[in-house]
Symmetry: C2
Subunit: 127 residues, 2 copies
DNA sequence: CCGCTAGTGATAAAAGGATATCATTAACAC
DNA sequence: GTGTTAATGATATCCTTTTATCACTAGCGG
């Protein structure tokens, strides 16, 4: 039987309050000084996937990221500088028209790449 | 000085005649019985990137894929069954409208996921 | 409070992709 | 044909992400 533990709640809270999907390592860092181990983070994330509470977002670069499953349809913006990923709302019409004859479309993902506001404001001045 | 070698020509030919971007391993397999080593394939692909003859296409799943740089703007369809990747022509309007204020868009990628004609025709009947 | 066992942290190790190494081969200028 | 050295094949190694292991901890029903 599944037990209530502080770790589970903390991980879910971190993901809920994030502005985009987070990787296991990012969740672990967000947990900061709570000394929850990385293995536990992976376990809780995979458990969330199995339970359907979380969805996995895989982007071209980097590790798998996770976000709550109850967010409405949206896409993602990845900052090429700080590598953070942000949710972006909306979805253009006409996706289905791209599918060539004979193909069966299940899902689609749109990945925007560029610089996020934080990195734009830092401009060229390296940190 | 760069020398003409059969390997280079073979790799470029494989990529040119492919219907989508190929990974190093896929190129290696396509070379079949030519006994060109995987290290050579990686070398030639990276060389192509540096020279600007090839572009790298990174999709959520799997390794980096490569295709000729001279193809017009297009996107990709990945078969969830056989994992092959196909080029798809066209691009919906309104991508730029997705970008939230403060973000700077450089590139975008649209990834369609589903089943390719080969796998659709095989239907549920496992191979 | 007890006992059972799910959960945990630390870390070893796996998995997958890409690069480095090195002795050997072969392209090309002469 | 010969010499120079870029290119190659085989494979060891690296790197990053993820999972497995295992002794210890703690949630919760009784």
């Amino acid at each position: 039987m599944r037990r209530y533990t502080p770790s589970r709640k903390l991980v879910r809270d971190v993901l809920s309050s994030a502005t985009g999907p987070l990787s296991a390592v990012e969740v672990h860092e967000a947990l900061g000084n709570t000394k929850i181990g990385i293995a536990t983070v992976y376990r809780i994330l995979n458990e969330g996937l199995r339970d359907g509470d979380l969805v996995c977002v895989e982007l071209p670069s980097g590790p798998k990221r996770f976000e709550p499953a109850d967010r409405p349809h949206h896409h993602h913006f990845e900052c090429s500088e700080c590598e953070k990923v942000y949710d972006v709302q909306g979805c253009p019409d006409g996706i289905a028209q791209l599918v060539p004859p004979g193909f069966e479309l299940d899902f689609h993902e749109i990945i925007l790449t560029g610089r996020c506001p934080d990195c734009v404001s830092t401009d060229g001045r390296a940190s």
